[in-house]
């Protein structure tokens, strides 16, 4: 196996008409990696925060995500319960053990049965938070972790995401900056843009190929003044 490694690296250096890279070249390439400078960032999402929120909603809805804006934490349990009722779903959800979801007064809706944890695939509805919302394309940025299991984003038929307004930002690059400041790369960073879909049969789009059939985002709070 090591022979193949050496052979591939040697062929690359030879075909590029140089020997192995010298230390100066490596140093400058390492500096490029450490600098991780952004490229051209489209103007589309470089907006005041209230407009970013509006763009996020517009872009999410364009890919069949549904979006609901709420004023206060206390509105969240009712919104979730109403969503379930609206879609004739049982009043049962599996919820990520994410502490950021603890701040909503779930006890106000005693009929809503909540199980915190991971799913084996037999839950109809998952409720999770997200790391960020990216306005540029209406995408959610989700991280894996002990409190945020990835399978909740994929196995249940319905996925409800509770996002605070200040978590919505313009671009993916802002998400990377926030992630680096939060620590190391988790096992998974999932950008989720709408419910699962396929167009593999005669190019007709069908939702719910393997992942959720529905994706609903609840945004709590209002735009940041100085963001």
């Amino acid at each position: 196996m090591n022979d193949s490694r050496a052979a591939i690296l040697a062929t690359i250096a030879k075909r590029l008409g140089r020997g192995p890279l010298d230390e100066a070249a490596r140093k400058s390439l390492r500096a490029r990696l450490r600098g991780h400078a952004p490229g051209l960032i489209p103007a589309r999402a470089q907006l005041p925060h209230d407009e970013q929120l509006a763009l996020f909603q517009e872009q999410a809805e364009a890919v069949a995500t549904t979006v609901e804006r709420l004023d206060a934490n206390s509105d969240v349990p009712g919104a979730v319960a109403d969503y379930l009722a609206r879609h004739n779903l049982p009043s049962e959800v599996v919820m990520a053990p994410d502490p950021s979801l603890d701040g909503y007064p779930w006890g106000d809706k005693p009929t809503l049965q909540i199980r915190r944890g991971v799913t084996a695939g037999d839950d109809l509805v998952a409720v999770t938070g997200a790391f960020a919302g990216i306005a540029e394309t209406g995408s959610l940025m989700m991280l894996s972790g002990p409190d945020t299991p990835t399978t909740l984003n994929y196995l249940p038929d319905n996925h409800i995401v509770v996002l605070r307004a200040e978590q919505v930002m313009g671009t993916y690059e802002e998400g990377w900056i926030l992630l680096r400041s939060a620590g190391a790369m988790p096992r998974n960073v999932n950008f989720v843009t709408g419910p699962s879909r396929t167009a593999d049969i005669e190019q007709k789009t069908q939702l719910g190929a393997h992942g959720p059939r529905r994706l609903h985002i609840v945004i709590v709070g209002s735009a940041q003044e100085d963001k």
Partner: protein, 476 residues
């Protein structure tokens, strides 16, 4: 699969006369071309992003050894393993060994062109491990026992009726015997059957759209979510990727992602874009316990520094296929191997040799659409010309073709004679065409007029007009 690229001409003839295939291909304009046009129109920076994307990949290729080593170091740091493979055979053995160590009985698979290139499914099956394709298109062609006919829409040659027939034929063991007449119902049935496969699989194999050197991450893009279930549920995740998939940083990857979905399906962003870094972490409630990246060369490193160097910028978006008049007329199977369309016409001879695939670069009108839409600005027509030159120089083409080409080359290097002969030919054709002004049969070129007429030349040749100074703006 045994390549049939040598039979490209026969394959093409059959494809053009296959009414069923033509019906399946007829969805491409609305499905891909129009959607891409709209998505590109909505992003004013798209052309500038193409320049940046091209430059990122060009930079990677110039320093590919460095980025491969950096990527490997980061994967190892995160608890994963990297396996370097020079050939398809080596990659197959490596994957089989990992599967055996994992005690695998069944393997779920995300769509991977490298998987197709190394024919991993046949190999696993021959060794008693059941591979299950989970991308709906790949699942359909796996049931049909066929290779993909498109790099992102592998079952584009199948109609809904074909899919219904395949499901009736293969889904009885799951208690599904009813023939379904709606795409929705077909998707639901596949979802239900594959859901159990995801849960039962011991190993998940995915491809990679990008490998990020900065973090050791593997990027997998899907719309169905099958890539995520494939890599999250089994105990072992194996990634298959070719050496040129490297990208330096998360920011560089972001630039390429802004180009990929728009160029491929006309989406602003694919539904699921997943960065995976190592196996599951302490405390994680899900994710694989083992993470392996199988990096395949298979002749690519030898292409660096040569005429086909820039082809290694390709990000497999399929825009060149979707916009190619030849692909749209014959579909992907005619090309005889796993890659098709303009990128396949350049890639296939590189990987299989010009003897096997020398016909493919000839299947182009050089209309230039492929290069015009390629997000990485790969000069595909120029590369096809390079292959044609090699085919000529290496004496791979038919003697009659070579003789005529040589005659033509001689003629155009003698302008006086050339002018006289073309003037003569123009007059002769005009006479032959008579009052109709069109020729339905052409001496020495009967093939050309089988399906169309040649309009007769109307007057002097372009060169004669030019010499007479009838240029636009000259007031005549």
């Amino acid at each position: 699969m045994e390549p049939t690229s040598r039979a490209f001409k026969e394959n093409s003839r059959a494809a053009v006369n296959d009414a069923h295939l033509q019906q399946a291909l007829s969805n491409m304009r609305v499905g891909f071309v129009d959607k891409r046009g709209k998505a590109v129109g909505k992003l004013p920076e798209f052309e500038a992003l193409r320049d940046e994307g091209r430059d990122i990949k060009a930079h990677v290729l110039e320093n590919l050894d460095f980025y491969l080593e950096e990527f490997e170091a980061r994967v190892v740091e995160k608890g994963g393993r990297v396996h370097w493979c020079q050939t398809g055979a080596e990659a197959r053995e490596t994957i089989l060994t990992i599967c055996r160590e994992a005690g695998a009985k069944t393997v779920t698979k995300g769509k991977s062109m490298i998987g197709e290139e190394i024919e991993i499914n046949d190999f696993l099956e021959a060794n008693g491990i059941e591979p299950i394709e989970t991308d709906l298109g790949e699942y359909i062609i796996q049931l049909a026992g066929e290779p993909p006919s498109h790099i992102i829409a592998p079952a584009i040659h199948k109609t809904q009726d074909d899919v219904a027939d395949l499901f009736v034929e293969h889904h009885a063991p799951y208690g599904k015997t009813e023939r379904l007449n709606e795409a929705r119902a077909l998707v639901d049935e596949a979802r239900q059957i594959l859901r159990q496969k995801f849960v039962d699989a011991d190993v998940g194999i995915t491809g990679a759209n990008f490998l990020v050197a900065e973090t050791g991450s593997v990027v997998v893009v899907t719309n169905e979510g099958n890539g995520d279930l494939t890599q999250t549920l089994p105990r072992t995740h194996i990634v298959t990727a070719s050496i040129e998939k490297l990208v330096p940083t998360l920011e560089d990857t972001t630039t390429l992602l802004r180009l990929l979905a728009r160029s491929a399906t006309g989406q602003e962003f694919s539904t699921y874009t997943t960065f995976s870094t190592g196996p599951k972490r302490p405390g994680d409630l899900d994710g694989p316990e083992a993470f392996h990246v199988v990096i395949l060369d298979n002749g690519r490193s030898a292409a660096l520094g040569g005429e086909f160097h820039d082809l290694l910028r390709c990000i497999r978006c399929a825009a060149c296929l979707n916009h190619c008049p030849v692909y749209r007329a014959i579909g992907g199977h005619a090309y005889g191997w796993v890659y098709s369309g303009p990128m396949g016409a350049v890639y296939t001879p590189l990987l299989l040799g010009i003897e096997e695939a020398g016909h493919l670069p000839n299947a182009s009108s050089f209309c230039g659409r492929c290069e015009a839409v390629c997000p990485m600005r790969i000069p595909l027509p120029r590369m096809m010309r390079h292959w044609r030159e090699r085919e000529f120089e290496g004496r791979y083409s038919a003697p009659a073709v070579r003789r005529n080409l040589r005659l033509w080359a001689w003629l155009v290097r003698h302008p006086a004679l050339y002018n006289r002969m073309t003037a003569l030919a123009a007059r002769a054709l005009r006479l032959l065409a008579g009052r109709r002004g069109r020729l339905s049969r052409l001496p020495l070129a009967g093939g050309w007029t089988v399906s169309r007429d040649l309009p007769a030349p109307e007057g002097r040749s372009f060169k004669a007009l030019w010499a007479a100074d009838v240029r636009p703006g000259r007031g005549r």
